[in-house]
Each structure stands twice: as C-alpha cells, then as structure tokens.
Symmetry: C2
Subunit: 268 residues, 2 copies
C-alpha cells in the first residue's frame, strides 16, 4: 500500500525508535489486509510529549498513538481520560483519538500477556502466580492477572520501592487476590504461573531472573513465561522447558499485544 | 518499501489533506528509489500549527514538513529562520528540521514554476510578464520571476489589497524590475509570459482568468502557463494553444516543485 493523501495515520512514539519492531509489523499487517493505514515511527524527545499530544488532538486523519519507552508514564497528565487499568498503572501504552479530538489512554501490556497465556490454555482465575519484575511491563502483567482473578500473586523486584507501590495498589484494587511479597523465592513448586518481567537474559547474556536452584523446583506442567523477545527462547525458558513446564516466549506476548493495540485505536 | 522503525519521516500538513496528491507522488518516488522514507499526510487543524512545530523540533527521525493550504502563512512565526524569499512572501511551503531541532522555512512555489518554465526554454531575464492572481501561489511566482530578472512584471487580481501589497513588496525588493498594475488587460500582445495563478478553470468549470477577447491578442510563440492542475489543459491553455502559444500545464509546476521540496528537506 502506498501512503497517500487518504491514508489514516497512527503514530508510535518512543525514544529512540529505530530498533522498535512494531512499526514494521503493523505496516506489514496493514499491507496484507489492503488497509489504507500507516503506523508512523516517531522518535520523540521527552520534552515534546506534551506538544505532541496537543497536536494529536488536531490531526483529523489520525486514530491515535502507540506509546513505548520512555513515554508511557509521561503521556498520562495530558490525556482526557484513562481506562481503569491505565489509571491504576499510571501509564498508557496506547492512545485513541476520538473524532472530537479527545484522547483516551489505555494500557494493554497486561492484556497482551493474558491473551498469549490463554493460547496456552491458561485461565488465571483461582491460580497462584509469581511475577518477577515490578517495572512497567511487570506491573501491567500483575494487574491483568489480578483483574483475571488469580487467587494469590507474589511479586519480587530488586527495586523495593517499585514493588511496594505495586503491591499496595493491587491490594487496594483487588481485595479478593492475596498479594504477597516473598523475601526470597527458593521454592517455586507452589506456583501455577511464573513470569519473568525483567530484562534478564535479553541480548543473549545468559542471565537468569531467578536462582538456578529455585528454577529447579518448578512444577512440571506449570506455565513459565518471559517478556524478553530476543532471544525468544531465553535460558530461563530453556531450564523451565527441561523441567517439563509449558513455556510462553516474549514474541507471543508482543504479537497478542498488537491485536489489542490496533483494536483500541480502531485500526485493526 | 515498508514503513518501519528505521524509516526517516517527513510530514505534509494541510487541512483537509485527503485530496492532496503529493503524499502519494512523493511516496511512490521513495519506493521507486528504494529510499527508507515516508511523507506522512497530516490533516492538521489550524489551532494546532504552533504545537505541531514545537513537536517537530523534537522528532529526531524527521527531516521536516511540506506545508500546504491553509498553513503556509501560519507557520512563519514559529520558525527559527526563513530564506529570503520566504521572508519576502511571509509564507513557507517547506520546513527543514536541522539535526539540532531548529526549523528553517523556505518557499519553493515560485521555484517550481521557473523550473517548469525552464523546461520550455524560458529564460526570464529581460522579459515582460503578466501574472494574474496575487494569492499565495501567484505571489511566489511573481517573486521568482523578479528574482530571475524579468524587466517588466504586470500584476492583476480582483483582490486589490493583495495585489497592492505584492506590488509594493516586489518594487522594494527588486528595483531593477518595473512592477505594473494595469487597470485592464485588453491587449496581451506585449507579454512574453502570461501566467494564470487563480483557480479559474479548476474542476472543469470552463471559467477563464482573462477576457476571451484579451486572450485572442496573445502573441504566437509566447509562453502561457496555468497553475490549475485539474484539468491539466484548461480552457485558457486551449485558447492559448490555438493562438500558437507554448503552454505550460499546472502538473508540470507541481512535478518540478516536488524536486525543490524534497531537495530542501534533504529527502530527494
């Protein structure tokens, strides 16, 4: 598809942007679907987030924007409204522009995770889960698991401030879920779902998000997931697979998220 | 070419934008050249011109913007610098974003015209020309003809304020050119070049920019040009052709302008 005067536009804002895969993935999807749409890679400096959003209100052929690192929190003050989950997480990774120019933020990082997990047959309700990493993506996954009804959710992160904030927020929002902050995670045998939401293992460093001895306690048949996309099969997932666990790779979440992102902008 | 994370971006701002041909023309050119570039159609409301330009400063993968109706004058106050011709015309139709984020405005409407005329063998120096229409495009053409050294330039427009401003500006900037404002143009036999820079004839209305009796006085061999792009051969040009004049059609100027626009943004 040729980008032309009639083309509907979406932006993806990040800084930097050249390494981000989703513009190419989205645009390939649009081309295959014969859609007169384009997702525009926009390497936006942090100082311009506010003016970008002011501008987006007045771009009549735009459906919205995908928001990536480091802008997910920065956009929040400048939106007209937020979905409940985006408000809880104080971060948006997608913005819909309504025809009247108002901007609505959502956060579908967690939805991408649970959609990918559902493809593995995982139904979170009543389960016991561990999320390692309380950054933006880990918080979104934890929030989505609580919303989907996990019975117990354990959170760990080296950044104790982040995990303390997340645990308090989730405990307030989801009283039916027991939120735990285990001091150590030597024994993983009690978990139905274990998620690495840290960068450990990214770029083939071989780093593990949990001690190898702990990984050796994983129960066969549980689902072990990683948000790292490169390599797709991280050392953590390799060890889990060797234990007989089902594994969910980072690209699965990324692909599921595309559907959620595009759906929110009305573009897919 | 697939638009992807690495793609260099330019915007074209107008309101509306769907009918504008240049995004498709530019992007077809980029595709044929194998360039990882896209010109993004941006239907920008007038209220957002200032924030758009503030944003453009911080879009690190952007080379600039093409500016079309109705924003050519509105952008001027928000640019860091202007070329001489853009300053004279108080209007920019292209903005280059330098790597440090500064924005420079130029106006290549007139350059597009003189490039197209040069392809017909026209060298303006020393000639006598008539430009009908003192709007944005007519002003730019008149300015470019003065810069190229026409000896005499006659200007007419129903909007007397516009033509008065333009005549004064040109007389100040180009003392070597005799700027005239003929009360009527019944006799065109003295002109080497006659340009319609009004919308007369656009969309097949059959309207003429000058009285038919005046057109009948055109000298064979002179160059008659029209800025109207649809139809390409306007009724005015048909009459001129029947008189034995050379004719320059609107799309020729538009095509020549693309080269000038892309060159200024460093994108072609």
């Amino acid at each position: 598809m040729l980008v032309q005067g009639t083309t509907r536009v979406g932006f993806i804002i990040g800084h930097p942007i050249a390494q981000v895969k989703s513009p190419g993935l989205f645009n390939r999807h649009f081309a295959e679907a014969g859609a007169d749409r384009v997702l525009v890679p926009t390497d936006l400096a942090p100082a311009q987030v506010e003016s970008f959003l002011a501008t987006l209100r007045g771009v009549h052929n735009a459906d919205g924007a995908v928001v990536t690192v480091p802008h997910k929190r920065a956009v929040v003050p400048y939106l007209d409204s937020l979905t409940d989950r985006a408000r809880r997480l104080r971060a948006a990774n997608v913005i819909r522009r309504n025809p009247d120019g108002t901007l609505v933020g959502d956060n579908v990082d967690g939805l991408g995770f649970t959609l990918a997990a559902a493809a593995h047959g995982l139904a979170p309700r009543g389960l016991t889960a561990l999320v390692v990493g309380a950054g933006g993506v880990g918080s979104a996954i934890a929030d989505a698991l609580c919303e989907a009804g996990v019975a117990r959710l354990a959170l760990t992160d080296l950044a104790t401030d982040a995990v303390a904030w997340l645990a308090t927020m989730l405990a307030d929002a989801f009283p039916a879920t027991a939120i735990e902050r285990p001091g150590s995670v030597a024994d993983l045998s009690g978990y139905d779902l274990v998620v690495n939401a840290t960068p450990a293992g990214m770029g083939g460093t071989g780093a593990l998000p949990l001690p190898e001895a702990a990984i050796a306690t994983l129960r066969a048949g549980c689902l072990v997931a990683d948000v790292v996309t490169s390599p797709a099969l991280t050392p953590f997932l390799q060890l889990a697979q060797a234990r007989g666990c089902r594994v969910q790779q980072g690209p699965e979440m990324a692909a599921a998220q595309m559907t959620a992102l595009g759906g929110f902008m009305g573009a897919m």
